[in-house]
């Protein structure tokens, strides 16, 4: 599968986007597979989805929202992790379910704030995070 940005793996399988009063609700699903890139080294004797890959999954879900909302030339770049914490681990066969509330403010339209909760398929909380992303436009790359 080809990508338009560097990434350790394709970190979301499906993404659903819905409008919300002051932003959007983004939900995404990723099934953890032992054959996913990079996982062979994390770790050799047992496989666990790295915490930063959950961050990557959330980032990719928000990238989908950015291109849907702002056109194919729009890129959501991570500007800040206000907080992130990890709970239940994700192992091969587990499903990661991402629920992300995005808010945008009229005075800073290029900045998006994301409040995110991630659950494992069995309902256990696996991560929560508050992020700030910046919407950049790639000039000459925008067919919108």
């Amino acid at each position: 599968m080809s990508r338009r940005f560097a990434a350790p793996l394709t970190a979301v399988d499906t993404v659903d986007i819905a409008d919300a009063p002051d932003g959007a609700r983004v939900e995404a699903v990723k099934r953890i597979a032992g054959e996913d890139p990079y996982l062979v080294g994390h770790y050799p004797d047992f496989t666990i989805y790295p915490g930063v890959f959950t961050l990557e999954s959330v980032h990719q879900a928000i990238r989908h929202w950015a291109t849907e909302r702002h056109g194919p030339g729009a890129v959501a770049e991570l500007a800040a992790i206000t907080s992130i914490s990890f709970a239940a681990p994700l192992l091969p066969g587990d499903t990661l379910r991402i629920g992300c509330d995005l808010t945008t403010r009229d005075d800073t339209p290029a900045t998006v704030r994301a409040k995110v909760r991630c659950h494992r398929g069995d309902g256990a909380l696996s991560a929560r995070m508050t992020l700030e992303l910046r919407i950049d436009r790639r000039d000459g790359d925008d067919h919108a």
């Binding site: 080809s2 560097a6 790295p50 890129v75 770049e77 206000t82 914490s85 681990p89 790639r138």
Partner: protein, 160 residues
């Protein structure tokens, strides 16, 4: 001044190719501070499968891997210091949480990430660290607080 080569780092961290993201330790003061590098190259798996004719910005090193590389650098400092002090941790090394991380710049293939990490506070099997990531004279990230923990098994409610 303690320095470590890749072979030494592999003896300290459980991570392996291609997710072992610390190349060399330039300075290490046990219990206190570390400076380590990771070279970004276009042949890494994260650059596989990109479309043709993308703008330069598409080749920015992923933020997720940048944070992982920083965290592994902190883990080298912590685990090396603990071993020097005769402490031995049983269990799995876990990225627990982080706060106040700002990413102000990007790194591209050919750049060398230079992480400086300090241990802020140690509480049992929990290490609070902070630091910065530089490319040359450009600071590209500031990490206010990163909490790494060692936990037995995987069922302790904290993961990865």
């Amino acid at each position: 001044m303690i320095t470590l080569e890749h072979a030494d780092i592999r003896r300290i961290l459980p991570h392996r190719h291609p997710v072992l993201l610390v190349d060399r330790v330039l300075e290490l003061e046990p219990g206190s501070r570390i400076v380590a590098t990771k070279t970004v190259t276009g042949s890494e798996p994260c650059y596989a499968g990109l479309e043709e004719d993308l703008p330069a910005s598409a080749y920015a090193y992923p933020a997720s891997l940048l944070v992982e590389s920083f965290g592994q650098t902190g883990a080298v400092l912590w685990l090396y210091s603990a071993a020097m002090a005769g402490e031995r941790s049983e269990g799995t090394l876990i990225f627990g949480s982080a706060r106040e991380v700002t990413i102000t710049g990007r790194a591209y293939p050919g750049d060398v990430l230079r992480h400086t990490v300090e241990i802020d506070q140690l509480i049992g099997d929990n290490a609070f660290m902070r630091g910065e990531t530089w490319v040359g004279d450009r600071r590209i990230a500031t990490l206010g607080s990163v909490l790494a923990v060692v936990r037995e098994g995987l069922a302790v409610g904290t993961g990865s």
